[in-house]
Symmetry: C2
Amino acid sequence: MAMQSREIRLAARPKGEPKQDDFTFASVELKNPGNGEVLVKNLYFSVDPYMRGRMNDAKSYVPPFTVGRAMEGSAVGVVAASRDDSLPVGSLVLSMFGWREAYVAQARILQRLDASLAPPSTFLGLLGITGLTAWVGLWKIARLQPGETVFISGGAGAVGSAACQLAKLRDCKVIASAGTEAKVKMIREDLGANFAFNYKDGDPLKHLMHAAPEGIHVYFDNTGGPQLEAAITALKERGRVAMCGAIAGYNHPVPGPRNMINVIGKRLRLEGFIISDYIGSLHEFLGDVAPAYKSGKIRSYETVVEGIDQAPEAFMNLLHSGDAHTGKMVIHLTD
Amino acid sequence: MAMQSREIRLAARPKGEPKQDDFTFASVELKNPGNGEVLVKNLYFSVDPYMRGRMNDAKSYVPPFTVGRAMEGSAVGVVAASRDDSLPVGSLVLSMFGWREAYVAQARILQRLDASLAPPSTFLGLLGITGLTAWVGLWKIARLQPGETVFISGGAGAVGSAACQLAKLRDCKVIASAGTEAKVKMIREDLGANFAFNYKDGDPLKHLMHAAPEGIHVYFDNTGGPQLEAAITALKERGRVAMCGAIAGYNHPVPGPRNMINVIGKRLRLEGFIISDYIGSLHEFLGDVAPAYKSGKIRSYETVVEGIDQAPEAFMNLLHSGDAHTGKMVIHLTD
C-alpha cells in the first residue's frame, strides 16, 4: 500500500522576485514507516517571508534550500500510520515537513499538539512559532514594559498581528503600519492598535511623530528599510529595537538607515533574534498566551489558501504588500 | 586682584566643516572666589570629536553650545585660590571648564585628582574619561571576552589607542584601522595590534576578511560609515557592536549600512553608549587600569598642542584623518 505524496521543489534560485518557474511539482512514493516512524498526512503548511532567504545560496542561520529538492517549512498534520507508541494514529503533530502532502519521519523529531486547544491551523499562527516570535521579540528582546509605546511594522502580518494583540494585552500603546488601507483598517479596528498608518503614505516618520510626539520606547521591526530609519529617529532615549524581519529587502537591496549616529546619542539597543533559539520557551509562551486565546481576548489571524497547487503563488504574493493576505498565510491541503 | 581669563567662544554654528570664523576669542574678568568656591588655572584642556555635535543646534544627550558663549570640555587645572577646605591651593582638579585659561567654580562640582599617579594630561587621556570610554565600551557594552577578536576603528585616536591596549592586556586578538600609513604603523608597532589597516585602502571588509577569515566577535565603532557596514558583515554569530563614535558622519551625512538584515540572521547586538552614564565606574576603572599604566604595560598617547590660540585649528584637524594627531589631542596652556 505505497502512498504517493506531491511536493514542491526548488527548481532554480530566484534573481530578485521569485517566479512560478523557480518552483516545480513532483510526486514521490512514500515508503512504509519503519520502527519508531510514523506516516503523517499534512493538513496545513505555512508559507513565510523568511523562506525567501533560504532560496538563495547564502550562508545563513538556516541552510539554503537545495535545488531539485522539496522545500521545507512548518506544517501541521495527522498521523495516518504509526510504528511508534508515542504517536498513535490520529495524533496531531507539528513538523518542518511543509510544502508536501505527506511524509514519513521518526516520531521523536515531531511535536505532538493538543488538538483540544484550538483548530489545527492555529498552531501555525498565534499558538505556534509565529506567536512565539512576537512574544519573544516584545518581551525577551525589546523588553517592552507595560504602558510603554511600541511601533510594529508589518502589523497586519503573521507576526505583526500577534505582536499588536500581545502588546495591547499588557496595556502598551501600539502604533502599527501596513501597506494597504484595508490592512490599516484591520490593525485599527480588529487588532485594537492605538494608531495605524500606511507606510506608503509619505515619510513613516511623519506618522510616528503624529502618533507619539513624545517618542516610542520600542520598535518591533518586521520590514527593515525606511521604517527602520524612521523608528531610529522616533525612539526615545534607551529605546530598543527587536529586529525580527526585513521583508523590504528580501527581493531587492534597500538603502541602510542614515541615522545610525542616533544609536549612540540616544543609547539605543538594536538586537536581532532567530526564533529557533527560543523553542525552549514554547511552554512558557503557551502558558501565557493560550488562556487569552481561549477566553477570546486575542485571535489567530490567518489567510487560508486552498490546495497545494496554489502555494508558490501564495508565497510570491506574501512578499508584496497586497490585500491578498493578512495574518499567517497557510496552505490548506484539500486532498 | 581681579584676574583675566581668555576663552574661546562659539561665534557661529558651522555648516559642514567648522572654520576659524566659527570661533572667537574673548577675555573675561574673573570675580574672586566666594565661600565654597575656588579659582582654577587650567594646565590642559582637550578637544574631542564629539564637540562637533555640540556645535549644532540639535537636541542631543548633551545640550548644544550656545553661540556667543565659551565652549566647554574636559580640563585639568591647579587651584590658585581657594575658599573651600576640600580643595587647598595647589590641588589638581578635573572639570568641564575647558576652552579657557582659568575659571571660578564651586569646589563640589570639581573632581580632585591624585597628582602622584601620572602627569596631569594623562587624566584627559588614558586615565581619564577617554580611557574609561574604551574600558566601558569593551567590557560593559560589547562584553568582549578574553581570547576573542575585536575590530577597533579609529585605532590611533584617543579612545581607540586606549581600547587597543586594554584589549591586548586581556589577550584578545586586536584588529584596528586608521586613515594614514603612519597611524597604521603606530597601531601595529606601538599599540601591539595583531593587524592594522588603512581604511582608505579599498573596501574595509577586504582587510577584515584577511585579518580574521573566521570573523570577529566584537566591533568597537568610533567612526560609523563604511567601516560599520564592513564590520556587520565580518561579525560572527552573536557578535556585538559597541557604538561609541561616528566621526565619519560628524561634518557630512554618510550612507547607512546596507546590510542591517545581517543583524537578524546573525543575532547581532548593536548598542550605543554615552560615557556620562558610567562616571560611577571611574573608581573600578582606575583600579583595573592604573596598575597597568604604572607598570609600563600600557601608555597614554597624547598629541600636545601648545597654546590656547591653536585650539580651534587643532579641533578642526582632529575631524580629519591626518598625521597631525594620534591619541588624545590636548591643548597645553603655556601662560
